[in-house]
Each structure stands twice: as structure tokens, then as C-alpha cells.
Subunit: 361 residues, 2 copies
């Protein structure tokens, strides 16, 4: 199953809106075929592994698959049919289908046909593999994930706003990996104005550009003659600016002239762009996950308003130790530790000197 | 060497001012004798292992020891002599003696006698085993270590001061382990007034009480009729109050009546008790390490003033998200990330849902 998990990751970020899935066929304790789901519309992992095997499995062969085989025909045939047809007598499943409408149906169908099915091997890891898919398939809304890089005392930057870098190289490489996992990335206008980031994923010498959202209610990122690179680089057709109907007309026209896409969103009572409307619009466009790189203001909104579904927090082993530096939080006047906002299904990763803590909000 | 490290830990916190040391004798690839240093004045680990073996080692036997064998006679004989006398022909050493006056002398002496010596096996772990000893033997001052438990946004408590609990059970058990490692513990008067802690180490059903320092310049912890438990419990002779000469006489007399020890310390220019004077006084009494459990004010002093040598920071996967809650830092008006105060030789430990980050300040 561990190997099937690794295989699934070969298509990291490339299967949306479908899940990452890996499968291996084992005969006499040896792996004889491997498969993974490459992209939506292509063969499922189990079918791929059977195709690679290119013969009938031996008696006693097993197939290990990270996700419950599908029992319904989508763009490709049902995997349960392919397994039954192959003659394999044992199926080992990582995670059950997270969709409550289908959960367990594939397993039942296989068992009804006399196949031995083992369920839940490395279940937590198999579920964690598909953070985005699991959320999408159940809720039909994108997984909104907030990412932040903090000092141990919870600061994003020096008092001046200077923030390069809070974390070390390994943590920043890990961010590139998660940028590649999500189909879209989002930042606030302050990040664009201060850091002028490319918001691409640079991994293994390759550059990949997700959809790049800029939260900019009043189009302030367009105000200067010197334009940020997200509006001018070779990936500028992947940039979408989020603004309100109140944004200055001339800046809106500037966007049109530049050929940059724009979504006009309503403003919520707190004066920010309405995240619920953003979420719905993403869902309409089948944008299944957004990695939101936060500064302190955006982080405060997302955390206190429970507007993000998931959170990535990198902690660097240093202290800004400066009251003048903005941290997370409004004046909530908390009375008890029970008012702290916790993460659940917490996972940690050591990235060099830094630690990533991630979990559901 | 890994096993020798585990053996060394059998005397966790019990060898001050000496180091923790473990040793194993290996013949034909099998461990035939184990030893560790139990307490100052007792046999060193190598001698202990040779004693356990209770015969001449076979030809080709090796001894693995976490710390370079001593070459000078202290309270016990030199370990290099014992090794030479035993006839062992190979010595594998973890860490070189951290004392620059002695470093490498034991190794040279063995090599000069024709013994094969391998140095630096699991060196980092072997050095990390003796944080306190390494600092003491070089500087002849105690290792002052600051401990804090923080939310991801760097808060110690709710705005009300309520702090039970920031971290989970496993992190709190880990704190007990470190309390046992240090000969002394220290807290500020706010911690005593708010939490009334016992400041003991409770592990494996046993309670152990370190020397308990209370930083309380004006003896405010004595002001109320209801006394904190550190002044009344069965370990009250292990409590030492740190105050200034300006503390109210009647409260000072109250301490004397209670039979509680008190150190009168000078006050530094920032109005706090002088940490340098505290450090010197500890050194005089051969108190080789102090585990300082901090709230935000004490942490700020220790970090910004570089008054602590070492730092333990537990991070819980939650956000207080409250500007009204005090964090770390004074108004430093930092201009660049390079002004952040970093930890070095960083180590991480996952404690359930929480993470411990520790390192030198």
C-alpha cells in the first residue's frame, strides 16, 4: 500500500477534479504490475495496473489500491467490473470512497461476487492523499486552504513588512510542492504590492503556473504604472483579479486592456470581498481547491470567520519579538483556552529547521 | 551506540554536575556488557561495563561509549587507564569531551597506546544528551533554558490569562521529562499567582521535586493569606524565592517564618532582577542548569536580552487569534527579517498533536 501511495503521487496535482489513486498487483508476495490515475478522463489506477500486467493474474494474486474501486460508470468503465473480469480474488483497499452516496458500494459489490476485500490499510495516509477531492466530492465546493509562514511567536514579517524569508529553503521547496497540488493559488493585494511574487510552482527545474487569484477589492494593484509580474508575465492569462463593483472604473478598464480576467464579487458586512461568493464562483468553474497564501489580515479573516477549510502553518525556529509587527487576531477578548480555534486531523512535517503543521480548521 | 545512548538515559537528571554516559562492550557483534554512569562520585560508564563483564574481554572486543573516556583522575580513576588495563583493542566514541582543555586527550592517549579509536558515531545525539554538562564544563555557569507553550499564533493564554491547557497531554508529559533533566526550575510570580503550580516532575507514578525558584522582586506571592503550594507543600525546603532588597520587610519576615529560602538579588537597569547575578549565584551553589517556565513577559526579557542559553518551545495546533492576548516582544520596530532572533542546533520532537522545537538562543 505504501508503494501504491507513492505511485498515486506520480500524478501530483494533475488529476483534478479526480482523486490521486495508485494500485499494485501482487503475486506470490511480489509486485508484478503498477498503475496510477494519470488525469481526469484517463484510465483508473486499477485498470491501468491490469493493463500493465497484460495477462490474467495468477491464482492467489491480490490488488492493492489506495481508494475504494468505483462501482459506477463515469468517463471510464467501473473498476469493480474490471477487477471481477480479471479473476483477481483479493482486493486490499486504503480509503473508502469519501462520497457518502457511494461509500462502500464498490466493496460490497466485490464481496457479493465472492472476492476477499480488506479495507482500511494505511487509511489515514490514503485519505490525506486526497484532501481536495474528498472535500469536493462531498460538498461540491472548493477546498479553501490558508497557508502561512510564521516565526515561533506568530509573526509573518518584520515591523517594516519585510518578510524574505521567514522560513528556510526546505520549507519553501515544500510550499512549491503544495502549490503544484492545488489547481489555484490566491494572495491578498498587499502580498502582490510588497513582494511582487510570480505565484508559480518551481520544482525539479520545471515551472508550473496554477490559476492565480489576487484579492484586490479596489484594484490597488493596478494603481501604479509599474505593474506586478502576475499581470505581465507569460502566464498572465492564468491570473484572475477579484474586485468589487465599487473598484475605480479606469483601473477596471486597465485590466481589460491588459487582457487580465476579473471576477466582480459582492462585499460582505466586514468590508472584505465575500468569500462565500468566491467559493461558489470557483465551484461553477470546477476549480476544486485554492491555496491561499496569507498575510496577517487575510489569515485573521479566514481563521476567525472559519472561512478556510484547511490550514498550512510553517513555523520557523526564530522570534520576531516585536510588538509593532502585526500578528493574527482581532480583539476577541478571549476568556478561556477553550476559545482557541483548533486544527483537527493534524499532520506534521519537519522541513529542515522548520516545521509544517497542517490540519482542518 | 544507539543502545549506549539509551543506557545513558537510565540516569536521566541524576548525574549533575557530571554528564550522562552510556557504554557497551561488544564481542563478535554481540553486546556482552552494559554500563552507565549512575551519579556523580560513582563509577563511570566504561568502568561499570567492564565490571559487569567481570572477565577479560575476548580478543577483538570493542567498547562503545557515548562520551570520550576521561584521561584524568577525578573522584574515580581515569577511564583511559581502565580501558588500557582491560586489554580492549577498539574504542568507539560518540562525542569528544566538550571541555576544550581536555578535548581529544583521552582519544590521543588511547591511540598512543595502540588502540584503534573511532570518533563521532552519532555525535550530534551524543552531544545533545548532555546539554547542561556541555555548557557547565566549558563556562562554569548554569545552562539557563526558557520553556514556553504557545499557540501557532504565538500566544501563551487567553486574554483573561487562562492558560490550561495550551498543549495536549503528550507535550505536558514531555515537560515532566525535561523538569526531571534539570536540577532546578524557575517561574515568574505571575505563574505562581495565576496557576499555583507544584513545579514537580511527575513521571511513571513518581514525584520528584527540583529546586524551585520563584522570581518575585517585591514578594507579591507572599502578599495574600492564601499561600501558594510551593511555600507550604512537603517540598517547601526545595523552594528559593528571588527578590530584591527593596521587597517589603514584613513579607521578607513572612518568608523567614515559613522557613523558605530566599536569595536577594540586585535589580538591573530594566527593573527586573539581575539575571547575571542569578546565574553567578547558581554557579556558586553548583546548580548547573535551570529550566525557566515562562509567560510572555519573562520570555520577552530572556529572548530579547539573550539572557537564556537554550529554548524549549511547544507549539499547539490552534490559534488564540486575539490581539488582547499578550505575546512575545517589546516594540523593537524591526526593519528586516535578519533582525529575528534565531535558534541554532535546532531539534524537533512531535508530541501528539503538538511539536517541540528546541535549540540554543
Amino acid at each position: 500500500m505504501q508503494h501504491a501511495l507513492e505511485l498515486a503521487k506520480c500524478a501530483w496535482g494533475q488529476t483534478h477534479p479526480n482523486p490521486l489513486v495508485g494500485a499494485v498487483i501482487v503475486e506470490d508476495g511480489r509486485i508484478v504490475a503498477e498503475g496510477w490515475h494519470h488525469a481526469a478522463g484517463e484510465a483508473h489506477a486499477e485498470v491501468e495496473a491490469l493493463k500493465v500486467l497484460n495477462r490474467a493474474p495468477k491464482a492467489g494474486a491480490s490488488i492493492y489500491v489506495t481508494l475504494e474501486p468505483c462501482s459506477t460508470c463515469g468517463r471510464t468503465g467501473a473498476c469493480t467490473d474490471a477487477i471481477l473480469h480479471s479473476g483477481i480474488q483479493k482486493v486490499v483497499v486504503g480509503a473508502v470512497d469519501p462520497n457518502p452516496d457511494h461509500a462502500g458500494q464498490g466493496i460490497e459489490m466485490l464481496r457479493a461476487a465472492g472476492i476477499e476485500v480488506v479495507v482500511g490499510v494505511l487509511q489515514e495516509d490514503c485519505l490525506d492523499l486526497n484532501l481536495i477531492f474528498n472535500h469536493w466530492i462531498v460538498n461540491q465546493t472548493p477546498l479553501l486552504a490558508a497557508k502561512m509562514a510564521l516565526t515561533l511567536d506568530g509573526k509573518f514579517a518584520a515591523a517594516s513588512g519585510h518578510s524574505q524569508w521567514v522560513t528556510g529553503e526546505q520549507a519553501r521547496a515544500d510550499v512549491m510542492r503544495w502549490r503544484r497540488y492545488f489547481p489555484a493559488i490566491a494572495v491578498g493585494m498587499n502580498t502582490v504590492l510588497h513582494d511582487d511574487p510570480s505565484l508559480t510552482s518551481r520544482m525539479d527545474g520545471e515551472t508550473w503556473c496554477p490559476i492565480r487569484f489576487v484579492f484586490d477589492r479596489n484594484l490597488q494593484t493596478l494603481a501604479s504604472d509599474a505593474l506586478p509580474q502576475v499581470y505581465t508575465d507569460t502566464f498572465k492569462d492564468r491570473t484572475i483579479v477579484l474586485c468589487s463593483a465599487d473598484a475605480p472604473t479606469e483601473l477596471h478598464e486597465k485590466l481589460t486592456t491588459l487582457g487580465i480576467q476579473c471576477w466582480v464579487l459582492p462585499v460582505s458586512t466586514d468590508g472584505h470581498l465575500d468569500l462565500a461568493a468566491f467559493r461558489n464562483r470557483c465551484a461553477e468553474d470546477e476549480i476544486v481547491g485554492v491555496y491561499i497564501e496569507c498575510g496577517p489580515s487575510l489569515a485573521t479573516s479566514l481563521i476567525e470567520g472559519r472561512l478556510a477549510d484547511y490550514l498550512f502553518s510553517y513555523q520557523a525556529p526564530k522570534f520576531m519579538s516585536d510588538l509593532e509587527t502585526q500578528g493574527i487576531g482581532s480583539g476577541r477578548k478571549t476568556q478561556s483556552m477553550s476559545q482557541a480555534i483548533p486544527l483537527s486531523k493534524v499532520r506534521h512535517a519537519i522541513c529542515g529547521q522548520d516545521v509544517l503543521t497542517r490540519g482542518f480548521l
